[in-house]
């Protein structure tokens, strides 16, 4: 077998470039989407008007998409958002947001009730709003949902469930989407690690 004679002097610049590449890419992740020119008027769980992303500019935003009647996936997304926030010790420069794609049922008070068992009703922003405005925001975020299964509950009320995207994304302080995750199955540590690389 032929041996490669690579001198240490040749390898040093290579290693320097490699390290520079890692640092550069870690601190300047690729922009996946841009919300900097977008503006959506929504409401939070306390019925306060929230303009997204304007009201969050200057901070990082970790946002997940949910509906409160979802028993499995959306609870996991909500838990992951709350766990990431806790792991970061409630940072002042990162806002944690859950946005409903079921504004018809997810009124501010319903969102507040939903948040309470997670202990997040005061710590996180839960967003809903006018259906048209919510749809526009979801389109921009490439979040899809559609009514699927209907079932009658014990109170005799017809309930519907939804098929939906499973997503958490991170926006930088300029309103650009820099990270996306499978919302329910991503370990919260990964979100924290990524944020800590760019903050």
């Amino acid at each position: 077998m032929k041996k490669l004679n690579v001198s240490a002097a040749k390898l040093i610049p290579v290693m320097v470039l490699l390290l520079a590449g890692i640092v550069a890419c870690g601190n300047n992740p690729e922009v996946i989407d841009d919300f900097s020119d977008a503006s959506f008027t929504l409401v939070d769980q306390d019925s306060n008007k929230v303009v997204f992303p304007d009201d969050f500019k200057g901070d990082y935003v970790v946002i997940g998409f949910i509906y409160t009647h979802c028993p499995d996936i959306c609870g996991l997304i909500t838990q992951n958002l709350g766990a990431a926030q806790e792991l970061m010790n409630n940072p002042k420069d990162v806002e944690f947001v859950a946005m409903s794609f079921d504004p018809q049922r997810d009124t501010p008070s319903v969102l507040k009730n939903y948040a309470r068992p997670f202990g997040l009703e005061e710590k996180m922003t839960f967003l809903t709003g006018d259906s048209t405005e919510v749809s526009a925001m979801l389109d921009s975020a490439r979040v899809r949902s559609q009514v699927s299964l209907s079932q009658t509950n014990s109170a005799g009320e017809k309930m519907y469930f939804m098929n939906h995207s499973d997503k958490i994304m991170v926006l930088n302080p300029d309103g650009e989407v820099i990270f996306e995750y499978g919302g329910s199955m991503t370990k919260p540590q990964y979100i924290v690690e990524d944020l800590n690389k760019v903050r």
């Binding site: 490669l4 004679n5 690579v6 001198s7 040749k10 390898l11 610049p13 290579v14 470039l17 490699l18 590449g21 890692i22 550069a24 890419c25 870690g26 992740p29 690729e30 409160t68 009647h69 979802c70 028993p71 499995d72 996936i73 609870g75 996991l76 838990q79 009730n113 939903y114 309470r116 068992p117 997670f118 899809r144 949902s145 559609q146 699927s148 299964l149 079932q151 509950n153 014990s154 109170a155 009320e157 309930m159 469930f161 939804m162 098929n163 939906h164 995207s165 499973d166 990270f179 996306e180 995750y181 499978g182 329910s184 199955m185 991503t186 370990k187 990964y190 990524d194 690389k197």
Partner: protein, 149 residues
């Protein structure tokens, strides 16, 4: 084609591979969801809300068994559903007459099979546990105490 300087070629490959790795490592579209063995819990919920319960059950009989139904004191509506992914969307569908072979373990876990409990009659908090009765065709009623987290 000859490469005169294999050292530089090697360096280029290392740089390219390094840059690719460093630029893509932060994207994790979906990660593993393997729960710890013996994962047993029900999610917290407000009164009137929906929740899900997760647990494992081993069929210790010498013949197959079928889960014919479930019940819980906190809701009149408890049933097995599975979460599935289709066309990039996550959804749920009911699973009826779940059959478990002798010696097999039925695993209900987040993002997969789960017991869907609708319209709970009282708040479920982390201090509570949920009683769930599994109605097996062969084993009969099996009662589980599931912690709420």
């Amino acid at each position: 084609m000859k490469f005169r300087n294999t050292g530089n070629l090697l360096g280029s490959i290392v740089i390219a591979a390094g840059l690719m790795f460093s630029c893509t490592e932060t994207k994790k579209p979906v990660t593993d969801s393997t729960p710890p063995e013996g994962l047993v819990y029900a999610k917290k919920a407000e009164a009137g809300g929906n929740t899900a319960a997760y647990f494992s059950y081993i069929n210790e009989l010498s013949r197959a068994d079928t889960l014919a139904g479930l019940s819980t004191p906190v809701s009149a509506s408890a049933s097995v559903h599975e979460t599935f992914e289709e066309d990039g969307l996550k959804g749920m569908r009911p699973v009826r007459n779940l059959i478990i072979q002798p010696g097999d373990t039925l695993k209900l876990q987040p993002g997969g099979l789960h017991v869907m409990i609708m319209n709970v009659s009282e708040p479920l908090s982390s201090a509570d546990s949920l009683t769930l009765t599994l109605k097996w065709k062969q084993a009969g009623d099996v009662m589980l105490k599931i912690p709420v987290q």
